[in-house]
């Protein structure tokens, strides 16, 4: 705990051998007096219910018929009214939006890995001119808040489209899901490079030296020796970036004004439309569609995710 920086520190992934702090087990802990433990359990149960009940209530309501939304809000649905989901998928376009979100997320993840892994590797392993400036510049990027710079990015892309008008009258940069993926990748570079850089530095250099002696090229060494060894950090990077791309609303709103919207923008539109029409079923079904992939992922990788949120604190 010797950190003096006031910067938001990116999660630092340490090698598996030391990734779990040698925390005291429950048996080592000092025993507490009973009343405290009783009260704290009660408080935790209440807070957990406050988190879970609204989510489960929405999931339950997503299979209710229109008439069932009036009256007792706690009544269980009489049957499974799947029509809400059909309405959401087809009429409210959530189906195509789901595919768009998947595409953008995958494209963004591919871009960010292809670009950030070599950059982090070079920064971790080689001495070159301007290296410290580059590192500082990237660290400063952790402070840049994407929400402020979306408008200039939008105007810049709009300007590029205008310049291209003679060749491409319909434009290229705005309303392009691949460009959106690229912008996601670019705005998450500082975070991703720092995460990977810290991990690369913990891997002993002797592995690469051996590979180099065997005559492997630098590129090959990076790909076949370092890449597999860095998998824990890479999968953490994938995880956090997946959540931020999938859940992004504001960049997507600005850069995709046309038809090819992503799920989050689609959901917000759905729910502004609902306010006028009071069509709850479709909205709740739409929400469930947005939540389910994330919750499934969360259940699968919760251990790693929660561990790394911890590492995002102040371990040096």
């Amino acid at each position: 705990m010797t950190t003096t920086t006031s910067a938001p520190v990116p999660p630092i992934v340490t090698p598996p051998s030391s990734s779990v702090p040698p925390g005291p087990t429950s048996r080592q802990r000092v025993r507490r007096r009973r009343p405290v433990s009783w009260i704290s359990n009660l408080v935790l149960i209440l807070i957990s219910l406050m988190i879970l009940v609204p989510v489960l209530w929405v999931v339950m309501a997503s299979v209710k018929t229109k008439g069932e939304f009036y009256g007792n809000p706690w009544a269980l649905p009489e049957g499974l009214h799947w029509q809400n989901f059909a309405d959401a998928f087809v009429d409210a376009n959530m189906g195509p939006y789901l595919l768009n979100s998947l595409l953008v997320t995958v494209v963004g993840l591919c871009f960010v890995l292809i670009i950030a892994v070599p950059a982090a590797y070079a920064l971790a392993r080689f001495e070159f001119r301007g290296k410290s400036i580059l590192e500082t510049l990237l660290l400063a990027g952790l402070f840049i808040n994407v929400n402020y710079i979306v408008i200039p990015i939008f105007l810049m892309l709009l300007g590029w489209d205008k310049a291209l008008r003679t060749f491409m009258p319909s434009g290229f940069f705005i309303d392009n899901l691949f460009v959106l993926g690229l912008v996601y990748a670019a705005t998450s570079l500082p975070f991703t490079i720092y995460l990977l850089l810290a991990y690369f530095r913990t891997i002993p250099v002797s592995y690469e030296e051996a590979a180099t002696l065997d005559g492997a090229s630098r590129f090959r060494t990076m790909r076949t020796v370092m890449l597999p060894m860095a998998m824990p950090a890479i999968s953490t990077a994938i995880l956090f970036n997946f959540l931020s791309y999938w859940n992004d609303y504001i960049i997507s709103l600005s850069l995709i004004p046309g038809e090819n919207k992503t799920l989050q923008v689609g959901l917000l539109n759905l729910f502004q439309a609902q306010r006028a029409a009071a069509d709850y079923g479709r909205l709740y079904a739409g929400m469930v569609i947005v939540i389910i992939p994330v919750v499934i992922l969360y259940i699968i990788i919760q251990k790693r995710l929660l561990q790394n949120v911890g590492a995002g604190g102040l371990k040096e």
Partner: protein, 302 residues
């Protein structure tokens, strides 16, 4: 371990390094550095509409901001949310983390799983959940109250100017509590158990231990998270307000970022919008600086 990788730094190195870092530098400069400078540059221009040409206006936009009551309102609301939500979230997160790491809590992994759940949901989903909770007739709260015959207690959660900001603050706490809980828990799990054992032998109770051991030792984590919190809650408040209330009724729940986007996209006043952006940036930077200074303590080691 600090030995330089000699054999890697050989002939042909520069070309390899350039190939590795060039794409990252280009993308970073193009999509992060340039737009950041653009925010400041554009705030000095009058620019209405995408078709129009920007004209230099000096600090006119900022002078206009100072007299813009909507902006002042949005500013007050943002500060209100920052103060209220950060106090409740951080105090709650700290106490719960202390209870879960030190107290005897069964199934603490399950609680952690549930409490962190809102952090993986998008802000749009959180907003949609709370629009269902706060819905005037059939929402979770008012629907339940009506069903129980307690109609008199039901409120227009998102329409009453007196309570609207509290409704939004509650949704923000709901969303962010788990993240800070997990963060503090990991800070606390690094504290050696011997310290607690020794102090227990000296007769210190759980409250005493929390204030004398836990709190000082996680102080740095706390400081960093507070500064982090300012940035993230400005964003969180924006999407929540945009989705839940649209800033209404009558601008009473407007927050800074939402106002910026309205000026830029709806009103097509890009220069003015960017002046708001600059103001938010300066505000959050100053707030972070002040908090960082005010909370500075000698770092304790264990």
């Amino acid at each position: 371990m600090a030995r330089r990788p000699v054999s890697l730094n050989t002939r042909g190195k520069n070309r390899f390094v350039l190939l590795c870092v060039a794409p990252a530098i280009i993308l970073y400069v193009l999509f992060m550095v340039v737009p950041t400078f653009d925010v400041f540059r554009m705030s000095l221009y009058n620019w209405t509409g995408v078709g129009g040409t920007p004209t230099f206006a000096g600090f006119d936009n900022f002078v206009a901001l100072a007299g813009d009551m909507q902006f002042v309102r949005a500013f007050q609301n943002t500060v209100f949310l920052l103060v209220v939500v950060s106090i409740v979230t951080m105090a709650g997160g700290l106490v719960l983390a202390g209870v879960m790491t030190q107290g005897k809590v069964r199934a603490s992994n399950l609680y952690r799983f549930v409490l962190y759940l809102p952090s993986v949901l998008s802000i749009v989903v959180v907003a949609a959940i709370f629009s269902a909770v706060y819905d005037q007739q059939n929402g979770l709260i008012n629907g339940s109250l009506n069903f129980l015959g307690l109609d008199s207690l039901s409120q227009v959660w998102l329409g009453d100017q007196k309570i609207i900001m509290y409704s939004i603050a509650f949704a923000m706490v709901w969303q962010s509590l788990g993240y800070y809980l997990v963060l503090y828990m990991s800070g606390m799990s690094n504290i050696p158990a011997e310290i607690y054992e020794a102090s227990a032998l000296d007769g210190a109770g759980p409250f005493r231990q929390f204030f004398d051991i836990t709190l000082p030792l996680v102080w740095e984590t706390l400081r960093t998270s507070l500064i982090f919190f300012i940035i993230s809650s400005i964003n969180l408040a924006f999407v929540l307000v945009r989705a839940l209330t649209g800033g209404g009724p009558d601008g009473s729940s407007e927050v800074l970022l939402d106002y910026m986007y309205k000026q830029a996209y709806t009103n097509s006043s890009y220069g003015y919008g960017m002046a708001i952006g600059t103001a938010i940036f300066l505000f959050s930077f100053l707030a972070a600086l002040i908090i960082s200074r005010a909370t500075k303590r000698e770092v304790l080691q264990f």
